[in-house]
Amino acid sequence: MSTSTAESNYLEYEGRHSGLLGWLLSTDHKRVAILYLVSMVTFFFAGVSAGFVMRLVQLTPFHKLITAQTYNALFTFHGVVMIFLFVIPGLNAVFGNFILPIIIGAKDVAFPRLNLASWYFFIGGALIAVTALFTGNGPPDTGWSFYAPFSIKSGTNVSLGVFAAFILGFSSMLTGINFVTTIHRLRAPGMTFFKMPLFPWALYATSWMQILATPVLAVTLVLVILERAFGIGVFDPAKGGDPVLYQHMFWMYSHPAVYIMILPAMGAISEILPTFSQRTIFGYKAIAGSSIAIAGFGSLVWAHHMFTSGMSAFGNILFSFLTMVVAVPSAIKVFNWIATLYKGSVNFQPPLLYALSFIFLFSIGGMTGVWQGALALDVHLHDTYFIVGHFHYVMFGGTGFAFFAALLYWFPKMFGKMYSNTAAYVAWFFLFIGFNGLYFTMLVLGMQGMPRRYYAHLPQYHLGHVIATVGSWVLILGLLLFFGSLLYAVFRGKKASANPWHGVTLEWTVPSPPPVENFDEIPEVSQGPYHFPSEVAL
């Protein structure tokens, strides 16, 4: 049943093109978001498969399953796919695209055709990455960070792999340009910056980082390709080049990149918590400001990935200090989120459960990050499984779980259907247990001294590896349950109402699923974003 006689929703709409072409050529931000969602989840499971095999190799009977060379290629593949094809686009590409125009009261983004082009850059980069696996001298084996001088010397398909990342960067930059312009130009009348909800604030800060930092990576990757092809020498010690320069330039992007990964996630959490507490967010301006602060300070700390690379003592100390500072705005958010729940009318639903898990898991990730920022600790922890545990806690426990939470939150809006709560809770159980079994163990292994990116391990680490691998199986089961139940709900779920969670931001005022142009009439906004009518004044 369509919501009005004239306007069908965006899923059913047939314009100039019908069927699959209607999706592949659509400039409707909602369809572009679904294109991203489908492709990203596909890539995610490709990355999961690589991880599954990697963990299997650490079990004795499967140790000779693959060669060491293949293992190196696998963790490179796992990193490239997960980071460039899932976490960096992340909530930005899916929920930024779907929700941003609606939540600010617009009919689409500022540049709809550029938006579709961004998705094609994304797919193009992905296809090039896949090509790099099967052509030339085999898949890159340098790790996703492509460190010089090995990336210059390695006989594998590094140039193509690096070129894939270069193309993917365009997707990120163009999305950033689109979102900044959208937020500046298309907010509904009356919606000043400080009446804007926190998800667009997070997207705004993220988009700036995408614009400013991605080009530095682009040029670094171009230099790697030129180095390999023409031997220009900047990263090659034999010609007077410096591999440490590569690290500086690489991390100048790749550190802000982790904030690109986490800020939209935090923005989604800032939307979920008020809705399920039925009260306004605690410290709106602090959270908005902390998003900008994270973007700003996050650009100042890149060399904390390089403490053991031979930097000067002064450089090490300065970056260590700045790393401690950047933790503060994130902590502000955590405290404000928890305070939001206080005396709220808590509606316990799957999105809230996953959001609370985010806070827990991200806090562990954030805190382990601070420990790594301490120079004396990092000397021991660098390039161990501790680092691997840390970044999986923030990227997966953080962005990953926030992605799940956002998907559960906005699912009814996006598809007009409701999923099974039971399935979401059961999936959570496996996800949470499996996740901690896998990654907490890695933190311990790292502290015990197990190096990362190693094909084999000493006997003393074996128990930890077994526990971690079993954890990975539980985790994967949770992932299959989670996505399986949502996929089922897309086609067979019960119909959802326009506002099943009693949210008060603008996306809940349009039908589920929304019509093509979102609003019949652009709304006028007169009050702040989290004004709950039933809220009891504290």
Partner: protein
């Protein structure tokens, strides 16, 4: 049909005159000449020229040719953010390199 909320300075009210743009071009050529002149006095003078004259030339292009002088403060802010970011990268990089 929706209207975009009116934003300040959608259409800049001023444009440079012919005289202004020609003067700017002459200034750019003259400054280039100064740069060349300075470079004949050795490396130090040349580097000082690089650090002072070149940003002025760039600023003239941004302000007059690229119309930034007459545009909404938002665009000026955008450029400022870009330049500050690069400066921060450079300064922080040298905080390590200079002490190596």
């Amino acid at each position: 049909m929706s209207e975009i909320s009116t934003q300040p300075n959608d259409h800049p009210t001023a444009h440079p005159s012919y005289r202004t743009v020609i003067t700017v071009w002459v200034a750019l050529v003259v400054l280039t000449g100064c740069l060349v002149f300075l470079s004949h006095f050795g490396l130090r003078a040349a580097v000082w020229g690089l650090l002072t004259i070149t940003p002025v030339k760039a600023a003239l292009v941004f302000y007059f040719f690229m119309h930034l002088r007459y545009e909404d403060p938002l665009l000026k802010g955008v450029m400022l953010v870009a330049i500050i970011t690069l400066l921060i990268f450079l300064v922080l990089l040298f905080s390590d390199v200079a002490f190596a």
